[in-house]
């Protein structure tokens, strides 16, 4: 059970990081134009 909660936390963190990075990457594209 504990391992499942940890896994859920990790997957949430990775997904959130990817979402933030998507925004950062869009900003990069805007800056380069």
């Amino acid at each position: 059970m504990k391992a499942r909660i940890k896994l859920a936390v990790l997957l949430t963190l990775v997904t959130a990081a990817l979402a933030v990075l998507a925004c950062v990457n869009l900003l990069h594209v805007r800056d380069s134009l």
Binding site: K2, A3, K6, L7, L10, L11, V14, A17, L18, L21, A22, V24, N25, L26, H28, V29, D31, S32
Partner: protein
């Protein structure tokens, strides 16, 4: 089959950067020459990530290709990545000063980690040059194994630096889909690494120490009563162990071979030679232990060999441990010769057990225990021609002794594809 699997494993890992490179080339509009040098940087970064991925050492992969192969490629990728990073750094340019500084620092930090790891953690140099081994042993009083492991983890800092470096370079960061793939690579590898360190141990086998007793002057026998029988355990296997709740020992993971073929209570023979293993003198009965594994390929190799061909089990010192469990499993069914070299007469603590196996083997098993290494003439005398040409040889012991024995067997005419080895230190 063994070579094919290993080749496939190497190819898949080496090709790890391909999707990233293909996407970059599909979207980038830079001059070809610059694209080429940026590609080198991408490949170097991806290989560095792949090396981190291999350090996770999944059991299924180990059963396919073996741990030496995994760690061998882990190290090779580190070296190749540094070479490519050097060429990339020497031939690329960027207007962003922070990107340049981060790239430089990442490169130098990676170089330090690599040099340190090659010397202290791999056996590439110290197992082959005796003077370097002496230097390493001297320096180990200063740089304990745990310090080495932490320095090794600096490579995660290298990843963050290079990741940031790429995010600051306009020639790279302007391509949205490429950057998303670049970030996906990084996050996937860091996520898997975090899973391995933080979550995976919760699912490992656990047990309690039931016996901790000295064996001779410099070894120890530790038995662990498992909470649940380990049905995946095969003869010759090993586990990475972590002793819990004893601050004097620490929470490091170390590999040890199982000495018998019991799946409920596993017994380990530990040579107390290094800084960590000496601390195990203080380990108490009742201490909780976590076991990562089981790892090992010896039993699957035995099963693949012709059942009538002899097995030759050559152990040096505590290296006899996994061979004893192979002998326990096969002494009644296969021709078997155990050759055990020990340093001192009182180090032959399993002589009686081996004699028991021999007596019960119906003439199938031979045992030779001696003080000091086996020599060429002696092995030529002990091993019949049929054994030399058809036998499967399993060699386990300290790294330099294993390498010396492999050379000896080659000189005797044993084909190297029939010699399987496991080294005690890593």
């Amino acid at each position: 089959v063994r070579t094919f699997r290993r080749l496939l494993f190497w190819c898949v890992t080496i090709l790890f950067p391909v999707p990233l490179v293909v996407v970059y080339h599909a979207v980038a509009r830079e001059p070809d020459q610059l694209k080429f040098f940026i590609t080198l940087g991408l490949v170097a970064y991806s290989w560095w990530l792949a090396a981190v991925l291999l350090s996770v050492r999944p059991v299924w992969l180990e059963r396919l290709v073996g741990l030496p192969s995994i760690y061998g490629l882990h190290g090779m990728l580190g070296v190749l990545a540094i070479v490519l990073a050097f060429v990339h750094r020497d031939n690329s340019y960027s207007g962003n000063q922070l990107a340049v500084v981060l790239g430089d620092w990442g490169y130098y930090a990676a170089l330090v980690v690599l040099c340190y790891s090659v010397f202290f953690l791999s056996g590439w140099l110290v197992d082959r040059v005796h003077i370097l081994l002496t230097v390493k042993r001297g320096l180990e009083t200063l740089f304990r194994h745990q310090v080495s492991v932490w320095l090794h983890r600096l490579n995660l800092v290298v990843i963050v630096m290079i990741w940031l470096h790429a995010h600051l370079v306009v020639r790279v960061n302007q391509y949205f889909w490429f950057m998303m793939l670049f970030d996906l690579y990084t996050l996937t590898v860091l996520g898997i690494y975090a899973w391995k360190k933080w979550i995976a141990p919760d699912g490992y086998t656990t047990g309690t120490i039931s016996v901790s007793a000295p064996l001779g002057a410099s070894s120890r026998r530790i038995s662990i009563s498992l909470d649940q029988p380990e049905s995946r355990l095969l003869p010759g296997d090993f586990f990475f162990l972590r002793f819990e709740g004893d601050p004097a020992i620490g929470r490091e993971w170390h590999p040890f071979s199982v000495t018998d073929d019991d799946q409920q209570t596993v017994t380990f023979t530990i040579r107390q030679h290094g800084d960590y293993t000496r601390r195990l003198t203080g380990v108490r009965v009742g201490t909780r232990v976590r076991l990562e594994g089981p790892y090992g390929r010896f039993e699957s190799i035995v099963q693949r060999h012709d059942g009538t061909a002899p097995l030759v089990l050559m152990g040096m010192g505590a290296g006899v441990a996994p061979l004893l469990s192979l002998a326990a499993a096969h002494h009644r069914t296969r021709p078997l010769h155990v050759l055990w070299a020990v340093r001192e007469p009182d180090h032959a603590y399993y002589r009686d057990l081996l004699e028991q196996y021999r007596a019960a083997s119906g003439g199938r098993m031979q045992v030779t225990v001696q003080v000091g290494r086996f020599r060429h003439a002696q092995l030529a005398d002990l091993l019949p021609a049929e054994t030399i040409t058809q036998g499967a040889f399993f060699v386990v012991g300290p790294n330099p002794a294993v390498l010396a024995t492999q050379r000896l067997l080659r000189r005797l005419g044993v084909a190297s594809r029939r010699v399987y080895q496991e080294r005690l230190t890593m």
